[in-house]
């Protein structure tokens, strides 16, 4: 029945897509043998699990292929959209970013082949998810992740494979390793979950009014900046991995999923967004790793420990001394009692040095007035 409604140009458009797709698959995929027993009906699950649709884009932005569940997210069917150009459907301000992501990289470096960006796309769905009518165009925010498939033979076949998920994501159960926080639009904390204390060591009161940029490792500034910009422009964002400083020193890797919402009080269980209230940013931050020391500290501490052990060794094995330390050979000098104290002192010195390396720069900044 779909076929009956296609007009000639559409037919050609879809044919083009089909051919391109087949060419792509032929070039890159070795058809794996069938996976055998498949009690779970594996194939149909993927897109359902990922809560998104698959999009294959040419380097010029033609949507070569879209999985058929695209209608669930965009309100437009697969046959309507395939073959068209993505620039027709996305927000003009995002076009530059899309172009940047479609560019093929010269090198074969694996890292450069990954793509991860957020775009606004037109959607025919109303807020309630029903297919809307003319008056209900909305911009939907899509999080696109994927990679570039390069074709050595002809660059026209190269394309970008993306899975696109609309943000915000649906209900998920948060684990103990996440915390939520609210920020004003300049990313200063206005509210923070109690869990942050167990995860990062800060009390929520300490964080209020602080900017998230203070909490983060300097080298990750650009990542956070991009996140913030996405939020200001597109209202949703997924940050990449970045480092947050822990109160006691060191840092952890985290990732944040954020959204801009009209300000709501966190205590109300059924918030009704009030349009007159100022906007605020809501962040869910996932902790990815344990506290890491800054690398030099690790090396330094490891070295100190080694040194301590070697001091111990020196004590217990006179043979060792004779072999290694020539000064010792010149007579068996009796060890002066001062030396004992001296060594004890050295060891204390080393240990205090280690302790100091643990400290967190954040705590010594203007935040903690006792320091001054």
């Amino acid at each position: 029945s779909v076929r009956a409604h296609l007009d000639k140009p559409s037919v050609i458009r879809l044919t083009l897509s089909y051919i391109r797709l087949q060419t792509l698959l032929k070039v890159h995929e070795k058809r794996n043998s069938l996976s055998g027993l498949d009690p779970l009906d594996e194939n149909s699950m993927y897109l359902k699990i990922l809560e998104g649709f698959l999009m294959v884009l040419s380097t010029l932005g033609d949507m070569i292929f879209l999985s058929d569940n695209v209608s669930k997210y965009m309100g437009l069917s697969q046959t309507e959209l395939m073959g068209h150009n993505i620039f027709e459907y996305t927000h003009p301000c995002d076009h530059e970013e899309i172009r940047h992501n479609l560019r093929l990289t010269a090198g074969w470096c694996v890292l450069n082949q990954k793509r991860d960006f957020v775009v606004r796309i037109k959607s025919a769905l109303t807020h309630r998810g029903r297919v809307g009518n003319l008056k209900s165009t909305t911009w939907k925010v899509l999080h696109c992740q994927g990679r570039v498939k390069l074709c050595a033979a002809s660059s026209s076949v190269s394309c970008v494979l993306l899975t696109c998920r609309p943000l915000p994501l649906s209900h998920t159960l948060l684990s103990t390793h996440t915390f939520t926080s609210q920020h004003s639009m300049d990313m200063r904390f206005t509210y923070c979950d109690q869990r942050v204390t167990s995860l990062l060591g800060y009390r929520p009161e300490e964080l209020l009014g602080r900017s998230i940029y203070d909490l983060c490792h300097t080298l990750d500034t650009s990542c956070l900046n991009k996140n913030h910009l996405n939020l200001c422009l597109k209202s949703q964002s997924v940050s990449g991995r970045y480092r947050m400083l822990v109160r006691s020193g060191g840092y952890v890797w985290v990732e944040s999923h954020s959204a801009v919402i009209p300000g709501v009080q966190p205590s109300r269980s059924r918030p009704r967004p009030n349009p007159s209230q100022p906007l605020c940013i809501l962040c869910v931050t996932y902790i990815l790793s344990q506290k890491q020391q800054l690398p030099d500290v690790k090396i330094f501490k490891a070295f100190i420990l080694k040194l301590l052990f070697s001091i111990l060794k020196f004590q217990t094995n006179p043979m060792c001394n004779i072999a290694l330390d020539e000064k010792v050979i010149y007579g068996q000098k009796k060890q002066l009692p001062d030396v004992k104290i001296f060594k004890a002192f050295i060891l204390k010195l080393l240990l205090f040095s280690i302790l100091k390396f643990q400290s967190n720069p954040m705590c010594n900044s203007a935040l903690d007035e006792n320091v001054k």
């Binding site: 194939n43 699950m45 699990i49 217990t316 050295i346």
Partner: protein, 636 residues
């Protein structure tokens, strides 16, 4: 005919949106009436009247489609003749021939593209006529379908791609693998083939194993929580999709957690094998590599949902659950794990750090707010000794002028500003020559300067200061420094020195920052609300700083001041430093500058530290006798 359609189009468009606000409708999938010939048009449109009206749509939806795309389409895209209708109505003046021409051009364009894609058409030197191209296209398609034997036409849903292929594409895009684990013990019931490419374990190795064997020990609690039954966690933490806030679960807990469809999303670290496993050798290699592997982990983002099956279904396959529980349902998590990139997040090219570089961060007024650990080996200060202090205290006098100028510049521009080489005082009194790149990072929302990031490169280590070989020379060093500072600081333009106040190096930065704030307040508009919290905190700190610098007439940081500035270790720290100094003083061999200075240039960090400590330990005395470590008080 076409006129009829045109009229219909016009009528319906009357109530439509302006062009920039249009929407593409979905009701009829792809039902663009072909308006190539009027007869076909009317036929099709009439046949589609019924379904369209049923859905309450207009029968001009397709011209809407065209209208939208026309707004921002490119020439070679296909939107058909609905657009022509629109054009016709809108501008009656455009001759029909032009419309027809456009239609033809589009068609030609498409056919050209098609011929480019078909292998048989390509080598032809002369341009082929349309019919031939189409015929060849059909042949090509037939051949494609013939070769792709892995799918059947009989599937209920004809699709462009067989599901198998789709799955491959999805996995390729997502760099992911599907896995199903039972909730009770975490047994891996199923894992997709793609796991071999990602984690380098074969399927056979993984199926039947417990998932927890492959997860980082510290993440086990997290994963257990996601899989487990509800009794352990009475308080649900769900996120409402619309508001993103936590919602207190009003639903009965057991039902919601384990019900099919409840979503899960979490990050965990999974082991991966460094050696890629070949399918044929999996038996031998798997065992050996398991023993050898050095526990490398990668971060995996798992998203999926809970699903339960009645256990009666599971008995048949070997993958079925071995022990059947009393409950008739086997619940598990069905999820896709996607790997996060293995490397660190992209380091911005601006902040690429090489071995002899370190990064620091200043607040607007030049106070340190972040110090890279590398700075310690280069400058001698520990991070908290620097934090909160103004960078101007460490700059050599001769450089104050040009650095203040750069400071001003960087606050006003968004580019990277390079400083010239300048001298930075290290802890031991000597100077290292640095050259820095500064750029100010601006908060995108309120356009305030958050901080200044400085990437500092070491140019040389300056050994011009005399070695402090004894306590006396340390004192003389101090007095020399104080002499220097007793001369008045050079007059820096713009920095006022009101009578009665001495110019402290630290105040330079503060004044520059204040200048900027005043400038902003005067010139720009209502971000003053945002500015005030910042300026408040900034106003507080200069006073405290001044208190500290008041106590030190020479404005330098020497070792004696450290206890006051740094963290709350207090007593023991105070004790150790002078002790350390005196120790160094006693030993005439010790020459910290010569030890610390040039050695840092070429050695790695731990060697530098080693040098320092070994020099401390290097005495004439014999280290042969055992020390009773228990005697020492390890007060921590």
């Amino acid at each position: 005919m076409s006129a009829q359609n045109a009229a219909a189009g016009g009528g319906d468009r009357a109530g439509s949106e302006p062009a920039d606000d249009v929407l593409v409708e979905e009701e009829q999938s792809n039902s663009l009436p072909s308006l190539m010939t009027p007869s076909i048009t009317s036929g099709m449109s009439s046949s589609m009247d019924m379904p369209r009206k049923r859905k309450g749509s207009t029968d001009n939806q397709d011209s809407k489609l065209a209208m939208i795309s026309d707004a921002d389409m490119e020439d070679d895209q296909n939107r058909s003749d609905g657009e022509d209708q629109h054009v016709k109505i809108k501008c009656f003046r455009e001759p029909h021939s032009q419309i027809e021409k456009r239609r033809r051009d589009k068609m030609n364009n498409l056919i050209d593209k098609l011929s480019a894609m078909i292998p048989t058409c390509n080598p032809m030197s002369r341009k082929l006529d349309k019919l031939t191209v189409l015929r060849m296209a059909v042949q090509h398609l037939k051949s494609l379908k013939g070769s792709a034997s892995s799918f059947s036409e009989a599937s209920s849903k004809p699709s462009f791609l067989p599901e198998e292929e789709l799955k491959h594409l999805v996995l390729k895009a997502a760099d992911g693998f599907l896995f199903v684990v039972g909730c009770d013990r975490g047994k891996i019931v199923f894992v997709s083939e793609s796991v071999t490419k990602i984690l380098n374990y074969s399927r056979a190795e993984l199926i039947g194993q417990s998932l927890f064997d492959y997860i980082h020990p510290k993440d086990m609690g997290k994963v257990k929580e996601q899989l487990s039954a509800s009794e352990l966690h009475p308080r649900e933490r769900l996120i409402d999709a619309k508001t993103g806030l936590q919602v207190q679960a009003d639903l009965p807990i057991g039902a919601s957690r384990l019900c099919s469809g409840a979503r899960r999303s979490f990050f965990c670290r999974m082991k991966y094998n460094k050696i890629p496993v070949k399918i044929e050798e999996k038996e031998t290699q798997a065992n050996t590599s398991k023993k050898k592997e050095s526990q490398k982990y990668c971060t995996v983002h798992c998203t999926g949902y809970m699903r339960s099956w009645p256990t009666s279904q599971m008995g048949a396959e070997g993958e079925g659950e071995g022990d059947k529980q009393d409950s008739s349902y086997f619940s598990c998590l069905v999820a896709v794990g996607r790997v996060h990139s293995h490397s660190a997040p992209q380091v911005n090219g601006e902040v690429r750090v090489k071995p002899t570089e370190f990064v620091t961060r200043y607040a607007m007024d030049g106070k340190f707010t972040f110090v890279d650990q590398r700075a310690t080996t280069i400058l001698g200060y520990l991070p908290q000794e620097l934090l909160g202090t103004s960078c101007y205290e460490y700059f050599h006098q001769d450089d104050l002028l040009h650095l203040a100028d750069r400071h001003r510049k960087v606050l006003r521009s968004r580019e990277k500003i390079e400083t010239n080489c300048y001298k930075f005082k290290t802890k031991y009194g000597s100077f290292v020559t640095l050259q820095s790149q500064w750029f100010s990072f601006v908060n995108p929302w309120n356009k305030e300067v958050e901080y200044i990031v400085s990437t500092n490169t070491v140019i040389s280590y300056d050994n011009s200061r005399t070695a402090r070989s004894g306590h006396k020379s340390e004192q003389s060093g101090n007095s020399k420094a104080s002499e220097d500072c007793k001369k008045s600081l050079p007059v820096i333009p713009g920095i006022s020195s009101t009578s009665g106040t001495m110019i402290y190096a630290g105040s330079i930065g503060t004044q520059i920052a204040n200048e900027l704030l005043d400038f902003n307040k005067l010139n720009s508009s209502p971000s003053s609300g945002n500015v005030s919290p910042f300026s408040l905190t900034q106003e507080k700190s200069p006073q405290t700083l001044n208190q500290i610098t008041n106590s030190v007439p020479n404005g330098e940081t020497s070792d004696m001041e450290i206890p006051g500035k740094s963290s709350s270790d207090g007593e023991p720290q105070g004790a150790s430093f002078p002790g350390g100094d005196s120790l160094m003083g006693e030993n005439s061999q010790l020459d910290l500058d010569s030890v610390v200075g040039p050695s840092l240039n070429s050695f790695s960090t731990d060697e530098a530290a080693m040098a320092v400590i070994m020099s401390l330990l290097e005495t004439d005395t014999n280290l042969g006798e055992a020390v009773d470590f228990e005697e020492m008080h390890w007060s921590l």
